[in-house]
Symmetry: C2
Subunit: 340 residues, 2 copies
């Protein structure tokens, strides 16, 4: 079919430079010392002929693909895209190139994506969230390096970059308590085809624990469930309102649902923060531009992605990086008011 080879091979430049193909290979990948004169001749020939190494031949011969598989969950979602951006940044300048696959929060699709990446012979895999069973991951990790971002793997903790969701949620809830709130609602989430995402569950647990430590028993009527998307935040608030149980604050498990909640409150004429205070999670960039700006927990997605990329490069370089664990920093903005 339509083939895009400029047909210049290592052989052509070998002839042009009056050396052997292997010498060309050597200077190109700097794998052994070559006489300065020949090196120069090779470089010259390369430039003159506009030579471009055929990556498939390279990979076939060397066994390395120079690619890193990135298995994400939700292409187009602010938080995950931030991580991807970070990975891109972290890989910049390296010889590796990312190969993306999207699991769409469905384990089956995710597994297919994993297979695809494996078939593409990626040299390493970065998981962004997701739900692939750890057992499967351990099998993969025997073959190639595996790093998980925004997911805590119980059985392979040394391969994860994540945020302490429980602690961060605890802190956020505690802040609301300190501001005098006693009736604090929580919007948690499940995703389609899946009962719960561990991160989100940890946030719920942190919320509950903070209440208990303040001598309050979590009230099921104050806990509603969305699906991480904005629209579900709208519905969650409407459900909350319908239940008739009064509340003075809402803590949403992510910013997107907090935005939805904000809109629902607006539609009902409920003011933020005068009537109800609102706290989100993730600190995606829109959070600072909500009206009023949203108090939220900062999850440094870009940084996390960068760290993941760096760790992967280290692993590919036979080193053992120590991965950072992130604390969620509470970013206080005007969406929370003191409750008298």
């Amino acid at each position: 079919m339509s083939n895009n080879d400029n047909k210049v091979t290592i052989l052509d430049i070998a002839k042009r430079a009056n050396v052997s193909p292997s010498t060309v290979s050597r200077v190109l990948r700097n794998s052994a010392s070559v006489a300065p004169g020949k090196r120069e001749a090779v470089m010259k020939a390369v430039a003159e002929l506009g030579y471009r190494p055929n990556i498939f031949a390279q990979s076939l011969a060397s066994g390395q693909s120079m690619t890193i598989g990135v298995l994400t969950q939700n292409f187009g979602s602010p938080f995950y895209d931030g991580i991807l951006e970070g990975i891109l940044l972290g890989l910049d300048g390296s010889e590796y190139w990312p190969l993306f696959a999207d699991g769409r929060w469905q384990t089956e699709i995710e597994l297919r994506g994993l297979d695809f990446l494996l078939q593409r012979r990626v040299d390493g895999i970065i998981l962004v969230g997701g739900q692939i069973p750890e057992e499967r991951l351990r099998k993969v990790a025997k073959e190639i390096p595996v790093i998980a971002v925004a997911r805590e793997l119980k059985t392979m903790p040394e391969n994860c970059i994540y945020l302490k969701n429980f602690e961060a949620a605890y802190q956020a809830t505690q802040y609301l308590l300190e501001m005098g709130h006693r009736d604090i609602a929580h919007i948690t989430a499940t995703v389609p085809y899946l009962d719960s995402v561990d991160d989100i569950l940890q946030r719920l647990r942190g919320y509950e624990q903070a209440l208990r430590d303040a001598g309050l028993e979590p009230d099921p009527r104050l806990i509603v469930e969305g699906n991480l998307q904005q629209q579900s935040g709208v519905l969650a608030v409407e459900m909350l309102l319908a239940r008739g149980r009064p509340f003075s604050a809402i803590f949403a498990a992510n910013d997107q649902m907090a935005f939805g909640a904000r809109l629902a409150l607006y539609r009902r004429g409920i003011r933020v923060p005068e009537d109800v205070s609102l706290v989100g999670f993730d600190d995606e960039s829109s959070a600072a531009y909500m009206v009023p700006p949203l108090t939220t927990v900062r999850q440094p997605s870009i940084l996390m992605g960068q760290e993941a990329a760096k760790a992967m490069l280290a692993l590919l370089n036979e080193q053992s990086p120590k991965l950072p664990v992130f604390e969620g920093e509470l970013v206080i903005r005007e969406s929370v008011a003191r409750q008298r």
Copy 2:
């Protein structure tokens, strides 16, 4: 180095199935008819040995990489991510896989990305926005199919999927005029290292033309310049306010800047839409969740991405797709009020 081959080659399954390697290849790629018995034996062996074709060997031998290069501008930005999501969707089910590169709105980086994709021997290239000179693109297009999304290529119009920015901006401005506004500000944009992005420029032109057609001369004091990001919308409004030229409406060249504008107005105690009406562009998902919801021009990013992917697949299949041109639909929400 760390090599991840399960070492099962076409030869192994040839032996196992008592056929020749070429027969195996034939059944695997369905390139010629094979006796049902042998075909079955091959399939069985494949399954039993867990055979996975080596994609590099395939590519090397066939000259096809089965990948499509996607050159984007701003990984992590809502609008472009939407397009990427669409491309992913459109490619789903095909044998092709996307390879992403990010130009970061800098022509130099973009050109490097293009080279990288070419070196990766992609079978086709989808450009998402960007500024690569058309001359260069035409050269590439001689080798492999090229499709541009969200960018109008003057010299190769049959390869573009874009939105009529001028007309859409005209329409949005006209709407504000119909609502009684006469003093309409516009937030346009340039990006770093670049004077202007053509899309954005077209929106400015559409705005100006609508004013003129209504008998109003565009007032330079009502035109401010951001950089497409949210924060620049804040600054733009502050600049506008500082100029002292009254206005009753703002039309921002994208939603992100509209969000920034919204915040700036809020901070100044200027109500939307009672005091100032606001219109954005793109209809990214947050627009509907702004408070109040943002009137904006819908640019169907996901759909555009899907169409691009489909068109690319058609081209790779030696067909000539006719590409759609999108009209921007004005989505009317509460951020605009009638001016008395």
